[in-house]
Amino acid sequence: MTARRRLVPYGLLAPGAIWLALFFVIPMYFMGELALRSGTFTEGFQPAFEVSNFSDALSGNTDQFVRSFVYAGTATLIALLIAYPLSYAIALRAGRFKLLLLFAVVAPFFTTYLIRTIAWKTILSDDSPAVSVLQFLHLVPEDGRVLATGAAVIAGLTYNFLPFMILPIYASLDRIDTSLIEAGKDLYASSTQTFLRVTLPITAPGIVAGVLLTFIPAVGDYVNAEILGGTGTAMIGNVIQSLYLEQRNYPEAAALSFIMMLAILAVVLVYLRVAGSGAFMGDDEERS
């Protein structure tokens, strides 16, 4: 009986674990294996331990690599600057409008990702009211355009991944014990001091989660660059997509995917090290 009971969790786990192993973990191996093959689509790809695929993939696409990280980083930063005050207002100031505002924040999810992006193409198109206003304010040159520029791609990335930034930050702000903020005020801290010393450190985990949830999908995205971008705005996702689905150069495509994954992993680890230790330092200060 006890032996059978000990097997229960494995039974419950089995279908999901097997599905994830077969269709997430093992495919990674096959992608790595494909990345080392040589040959062409018409003649077939032979296993060859072709390491040069990696260097080829990297050297031919440095611009797109740098661009992906710059675009995604900028979009993440703008999203954070929008999301934090908005989440703060919803969590601590909205009162009975809280649910309604939260609803508005997730509303974009109820329309298809692609249709949302195409809506931005309409908003940012050359003769649209929004672009006229930007031209009037001289933020865009008189005869300049927004569509087909890097700015349009960044705007699209920011919009599409903003809810992923808002939700974790909102969750961390919503759980905050407001008596801590009051305590700060009672101890004659200015509201800026209270915010920097109390609110911000407590919500740091939410910020870290939001930044990762926005940055990771943004780096790999190619829909925004495809629909809102122009000739000089291709991201690494566009290259991978084209290599896999149009040129059918599977080995180089797989090598490029691998490099992208490793690059993201490296950035995330560095970020977690910096951001994580920052949050811990906030903790220590509080205790001392």
């Binding site: 000990r6 229960v8 419950l12 786990l13 279908p15 999901g16 674990a17 599905w19 994830l20 192993a21 269709f23 997430f24 495919p27 096959f30 992608m31 494909l34 929008i82 005050p85 908005l86 207002a89 919803i90 909205a94 649910l99 505002l101 508005a104 924040v105 509303a107 974009p108 999810f109 109820f110 329309t111 298809t112 990702y113 692609l114 249709i115 949302r116 195409i118 809506a119 931005w120 193409k121 309409t122 908003i123 198109s125 919009y159 903003l162 990762l212 990771i216 999908p217 780096v219 790999g220 995205d221 190619y222 997509q241 896999y244 689905l245 797989a254 995917s257 992208m260 994954m261 995330v268």
Partner: protein, 292 residues
């Protein structure tokens, strides 16, 4: 001198622009939040608005407003290609929802209820897909299918969709399970209920809101997925894939009509669920305490 400045200051603070400035400063946060919410909603309004737009001669979106028309609403299902892709997407999403929700719920139960060897590894296995860019998941799966000459189509899409939905289902159901009062289950067992009966009559109904939320999420994720589907679809066309293909040629205005309908239905469903929940909470609040 000081008195003079003070009067001027008071005088200035009473003037209109200064009062407006003070008001702005006091409400800066709420004004910013309001603007941000408008920003979130503008594209949705644009989609709704441009479902009433005349379009070009082929009945396609031309990205500029040149006239009002309801012809696409009266002919909402007039584009067979749009309808077919929508039906494929709905079938795929429904199938994915059922399978991913069952599999994910079982996993969440195991993770919350049992201590076992390999828990950490399992947690990692669940988190990793959510932290991997979609394009890598799509590319890796395609690599697997290529290596085995597996024919791409509805089945490969189904495999992929269940795969990326499982993690989200586990996370949602687990958060519900963690706040679960187990004494009710124990009470059922004390009253002689068999484990399966307890599960059916106690655990499942109490978990229902979490499972429902997870199922809806899986449905929405599947319906909306483009990147992973684009890699593994073969010749099968889902709604997002159709839109992407059409965006290179010309998008029928009906796409905006169907998107607006889908949005309205979703909002209605959510309002209904929230209203039901509120009613249930009110009922629970008036119910007298069971006699002691």
């Amino acid at each position: 001198m000081e008195a003079a400045t003070a009067t001027t200051a008071r005088h200035v603070s009473d003037s209109m622009p200064a009062r407006a400035w003070a008001w702005l400063r006091r409400n800066a946060l709420m004004i910013f939040a309001g603007l941000a919410v408008v920003y979130m909603l503008v594209p949705i309004l644009v989609i709704g608005l441009f479902s009433f737009e005349k379009g070009n001669d082929q009945g396609e979106l031309d990205f500029a407003w040149d006239g009002f028309s309801i012809e696409y609403w009266t002919d909402a299902f007039g584009q067979t290609a749009v309808n077919d892709s929508m039906i494929t997407s709905l079938e795929l999403a429904a199938l994915t929802m059922v399978v991913a929700t069952v599999i994910g719920t079982l996993m969440a139960m195991a993770l919350v209820r049992y201590q076992f060897f390999g828990r950490r590894a399992t947690n990692l296995l669940i988190i990793l897909p959510m932290a991997t860019p979609e394009i890598v998941i799509g590319a890796a799966l395609l690599s697997l299918f290529i290596s085995y000459n597996f024919e791409l189509g509805f089945t490969s899409l189904f495999i992929a969709h269940v795969m990326f939905c499982i993690s989200f289902v586990v996370v949602v159901v687990r958060s519900r399970l963690i706040g679960f009062d187990r004494s009710i289950e124990e009470a059922a067992a004390d009253l002689g209920a068999k484990p399966l009966t307890t599960f059916r009559l106690i655990t499942l109904p109490l978990l229902a809101p979490g499972i429902m939320a997870a199922a809806l999420l899986a449905f929405a994720l599947s319906l909306d997925d483009f990147v992973i589907s684009n890699f593994n679809s073969g010749t099968t066309v889902t709604f997002p894939l159709y839109i992407f293909g059409a965006s290179l040629r010309g998008i029928p205005v009906q796409v905006n009509v169907l998107a607006t309908m889908l949005f309205a239905v979703t909002v209605l469903a959510i309002v209904l669920v929230l209203w039901q929940q509120r009613k249930a909470e009110q009922m629970a609040a008036v119910r007298p305490d069971p006699e002691v």
